[in-house]
Symmetry: C2
Subunit: 329 residues, 2 copies
């Protein structure tokens, strides 16, 4: 911890606090500032906004909320196009300053910014939990039978087989906490259900998983994700990210085709669309770190970011109660 | 070409002939035999059935079609669980015998069997076109704007970046022929739209693609596949297979959720479901070989397999007309 961040932390790190990257996402303060106000008013979540204080201040005034939300200045903003390594070299960015602020018990950080930048800064500022090789993003998706956790949804694009196997541990712990499933089943995403089918990475991970303390179901395929075949679907961060966005796109396309066919009214179809919208699931949790980090969709509007703040607050509170979980998410 | 297969070929290889693996798929002759009969009666496609002649004969009798479809005996059948290398060591399997029968101009092979076995046998019996590093499976999917070709949908699980880049050439030639698009746009599937985002493989392929004679759009993401952002979506065979099955599953799940919400009648929703059913798209084409090979879904029923035979027949005829395409699919 740098002296600067320690000073900030002493001032701000109270349990339940959520540090929000004001500059993150496609829309920046225009959406993050009302999100912070909404998180406070609607969900009772105290939010600290981090970013260019004059831009944040202007938005707060526009919403008649000056003084209602705490603001910490960070001069630099990481553009959405920025990738991990370079972002980490920007110590004054809202992402890095925000992660430093979230250090310590009960702290949580939320960003709709570049996933790569958030992962790099979070690992640097918060550190990995003992024994965790790489962090993983987990998303809870509505399935035909309940909810499925997809992990890794994009934190680690090139993991080793050991890392993928460990994502099963992280995902299992997350499913226990978030879904309340006592003994979640875990499937390894691959191109065939039979053991031994897959690319090199999946085949190697498939050999490691039976030895781990998870309820390993075996391989699952692309159609199993939303079918609810298992509670936790494990894959590398590249495939997981493609699948997550594929799901969002496929649901939209299917509903659009239904609407075009005149089978149902678009307004009614929005009920189903909402299930898979960022507004509903409130972002992805970055697992495996000594702290709570939630990554919201880059295109998120205020409602989605407010929900992400609430999810982060709940996770951090839960984390404080169940600390000492090891690789437990 | 072995003397045995040459003898068979002399007898059978006439343009327009489609060799069908009678033993392939989850249901074997129970579905492949009526498929052959239907392909002949409905689409005028002359089919040769390859597999255990007594099982095929029994099914033909059951359908009152004895003598209507040519049968070539192959004693061995590759189980659906079999992977590539071992299958190739089974020279008497219906897949290997079928591929050998499809050698020569105008020949085509169709199987609903294990993709791995079909790819291995097809490469061995038919050979790759000059300059082609690895074959790739192409599937034409209905999108919001027309049709998108996804390639590779599962032939090469661990390609190099050079292979992925070459899939763009194969996919472009296929889109020209099948979609009739003069200058198809190509997107590289990755986890961010910005250049340089991706896992190692995608980043490397992204560096090679601008130098190739394809209309390279840049990176696309999971939600772009059915949005119709580009005509051809290129990826490795692992990700492509997961995405293809993910699409099938997501469409089913979305329609099921619409039906459960009581927004539309299930019967009407089947119109949309049919768009993404194996019956409609008729299987995936294996590109890059000196011959036409179509892989149908393992769960295919007779109607889907019959359609795959028709697609194979059209592709082979087209291929004979436009021969000398090089890596042109």
């Amino acid at each position: 911890m740098t002296p600067r961040s320690r000073a900030r932390n002493d001032a701000l790190a109270r349990p339940g606090r959520v540090v929000l990257d004001a500059m993150g996402g496609d829309h920046g303060p225009v959406e993050t500032v009302p999100a912070a106000v909404a998180a406070r008013r609607r969900f009772g979540v105290p939010v600290v906004l981090v970013g260019r204080s004059e831009e944040i201040g202007a938005e707060l005034r526009r919403h008649g909320s000056s003084g209602e939300v705490e603001v910490v200045d960070a001069r630099d903003a990481v553009p959405m196009t920025e990738r991990g390594a370079r972002a980490a070299a920007r110590p004054e960015s809202s992402v890095m300053v925000g992660c430093e602020l979230a250090q310590g018990d009960g702290g949580a950080f939320v960003s709709a910014g570049s996933t790569g930048a958030v992962v790099t800064c979070a690992v640097r500022a918060l550190g990995r939990r003992e024994g965790v090789l790489r962090p993983a993003l987990a998303v809870a998706l509505p399935s035909l039978t309940g909810t499925t956790v997809l992990v890794d949804a994009g934190a680690t694009a090139d993991p080793t087989a050991e890392m993928v196997a460990q994502f099963a541990l992280l995902g299992t712990a997350y499913a226990r906490r978030v879904l309340g499933v006592a003994d979640p089943s875990v499937g390894l995403l691959s191109l065939g259900a039979e053991p031994g089918k897959g690319n090199r990475l999946a085949r190697e991970a498939g050999r490691l998983l039976p030895a781990l303390p998870v309820r390993f179901h075996g391989n699952v395929e692309g159609h199993d994700v939303l079918a609810g075949t298992v509670d936790v679907v494990v894959t590398d961060g590249f495939t997981g990210n493609v699948v997550l966005k594929n799901i969002e796109g496929n649901v939209r396309t299917t509903l659009e085709l239904v609407a075009r066919a005149g089978i149902a009214k678009p307004a009614r179809l929005r009920e189903v669309a909402r299930l898979y919208a960022a507004e509903t699931h409130g972002g992805a949790a970055l697992l495996g770190l000594s702290g709570t980090v939630v990554v919201a969709h880059g295109s998120s509007r205020a409602a989605a970011i407010a929900r992400a703040c609430r999810v982060a607050c709940d996770l951090a509170a839960d984390d404080t109660r169940a600390s000492g979980d090891g690789a437990g998410g």
